[in-house]
Symmetry: C2
Subunit: 341 residues, 2 copies
DNA sequence: TTGTACGCGTTATCAG
DNA sequence: CTGATAACGCGTACAA
């Protein structure tokens, strides 16, 4: 006689509860949900049976029955270990949680194919909405799903070939703001150091620099763009060259915070008076004492979640298309607090 | 005659596909799943009908029918915006994804009650496993769920009153390693600056310091412990006091990276020769040029996921109890690379 | 106040 | 090879 408890038992059903309580399934259901039109005594019996068994309603069955869409939101980011995307997820989670929506999170690793698989899996789970940091070239295959009522919003960059909302930072305007800040500090020769132009945000920032350079009447030869910079070391090297050339620059816009660190190191080690501003906004930049745009990923994430929810509540509303999140410098110092970790 | 397409249609079912293909539901099912024992022609018809309708199998229904446990893993962390927990989630997600498990992520905000609600919600979804960074005082209520086959593992700190695995860093041993490193550099008076002892990891580190101080025969009056330090500023202030007192310390162990930043600032501004080592391992500490223990949250997360999966595959295996992740100094410099953000 | 019959979308059984 | 029919766990409609 093997002990029954050794094998993993499955979850008790409403029928089990009803059996123990000596009532019908429906009565048990009534007690556990509506709790109306039920005599005190039977209610008590059912409650006791439920707690005795540790009964927990099966959400799959419920949702299947009612035809309700699940309150699951699928989110896909490139890489959770990256503080930017983690912040995105954090902001989204907080906002969704307020509305009773749960977050199913996956990482695409910037791989379009993997992303497609993940999205398929999420759709099979009948998620109510999708928040995507796009890594693929074509999202037209989501058109039908959208018409079926699955809310879709792209975050941080737009999703090609799908008429859905996208919440992105105002990369171009942000760069212009950076330039203006340097101009206000009487800089004359302002350079941009940027990442690989294949990265959408980087290309936007380069584009923004070019446009602002034109409208601010800066001489391109005196205000160069250095691209393909994707490590701190490369950034430092690039900055040194700009600072040591015959006609050195006196202002540098760093297209992201890692670049800012390299640039700050170069400026400091050369004892240069060159001004530096940066685009991203991680703690690291702050620690280097470089003014940075308030590019708060949590805000981007919660904005995206908000827009997703508006669409869920009002599926027929027209798309907003590309929503730009304006960026400006934050002047107050950050306050960092330790945590449980 | 309102256009039918204006209202959000619901998802097509297998019956819809079967109807269009002119076959029975089961045949359609066979084609889409097993794809065996079906004539080429009918298979083709079904395939076409399916793609025409954009059919996507409903996982809720499937899991309900087969009684399969979902391949959902619920994870609860304190705060996703904190790089440590984000790293935890990242490591877990990567490992789970390898095994075809999806991650349902939620944040407790270090609130035990909220955590309880989240866990209930996850269990209603019939998650297959739970990864919890505990914020509550008592997890005995999960005992039944565990017996039902829900795998449970605690991460970063142990979960009280439940006989489940927990994957935690070797906080005490890590502190001893820090001290030894300073001793090797001929430090005599070594202080610990730590966070609030109510935080489990902080208390462990304080405890570890006390023990190591004893075994290394350090005089407690010369090797003090400063607690309740939870901001950079407080850490800097505390360090200044230790460095300016009559008998100043010549070695400081920072109990986490934020404290390390404050301490490093103090040491630098005073031009002191005091050595500093730190516990945590965020990029910030690296940038301050303070040796830190390799306290990699992603590793912790993937270890936890691995242990969860072992338990899923072998539910009857005995618990490992508290699994300590050893920590040591990492000597190679970090390489930081920019990203899409 | 309570119970019965049915349906959600899927798969399994067992017959044709 | 194919198709009715039952069943998963739950909620709704209607009847008792």
């Amino acid at each position: 006689m093997a002990p029954k408890s050794s094998a993993p038992q499955s979850h008790p059903t409403l029928a089990d509860v009803a059996a123990i309580a000596g009532v019908s399934v429906k009565t048990a259901s009534r007690v556990l949900n509506e709790s109306m039109n039920v005599s005190e005594m039977t209610a008590k019996k059912v409650q006791q049976a439920a707690t005795l068994l540790g009964y927990r309603s099966n959400r799959l069955a419920r949702e299947l029955r009612t035809g309700t869409l699940s309150n699951l939101i699928g989110m896909i980011v490139s890489d959770l270990a990256n503080p930017f995307y983690a912040g995105l997820a954090s902001g989204a989670e907080e906002e969704l949680s307020k509305n009773g929506l749960d977050l199913l999170l996956a990482t695409s690793r910037d791989d379009g194919e993997r992303e497609r698989l993940l999205i398929d899996s999420l759709l099979e789970r009948r998620v109510r909405g999708l928040m995507i940091v796009p890594s693929a070239e074509d999202y037209s295959y989501l058109h039908t799903e959208r018409k079926r009522g699955v809310a879709i919003v792209f975050v941080d960059r737009p999703g090609p070939y799908l008429d859905a909302d996208s919440i992105v930072s105002d990369n171009q305007g942000g760069i212009a703001t950076c330039i203006d800040r340097l101009l206000a500090q009487r800089c004359k020769n302002i350079a941009l150091i940027a990442d690989n132009a294949k990265i959408w945000t980087a290309s936007q920032r380069i584009e923004g620099f070019k446009k602002a350079r034109l409208t601010r009447k800066l001489d391109p030869s005196q205000s160069p763009i250095v691209g393909e910079i994707h490590t701190i070391d490369l950034a430092e090297k690039a900055a040194r060259e700009l600072l040591l050339q015959k006609n050195p620059v006196d202002g540098i816009v760093a297209s992201n915070d890692l670049i800012a660190i390299g640039v700050a190191h170069a400026v400091a080690s050369l004892g240069s008076q060159c001004k530096v501003v940066s685009f991203d906004d991680f703690a690291t930049s702050k620690l280097m004492n470089v003014p940075t745009l308030d590019h708060d990923p949590r805000r981007l994430g919660s904005l995206a979640a908000e827009s997703l929810m508006r669409r869920i509540k009002n599926p027929n509303e027209k798309n907003f298309g590309e929503v730009l999140m304006k960026l400006d410098f934050r002047e107050e110092p950050i306050k960092v607090v330790t945590s449980n970790a």
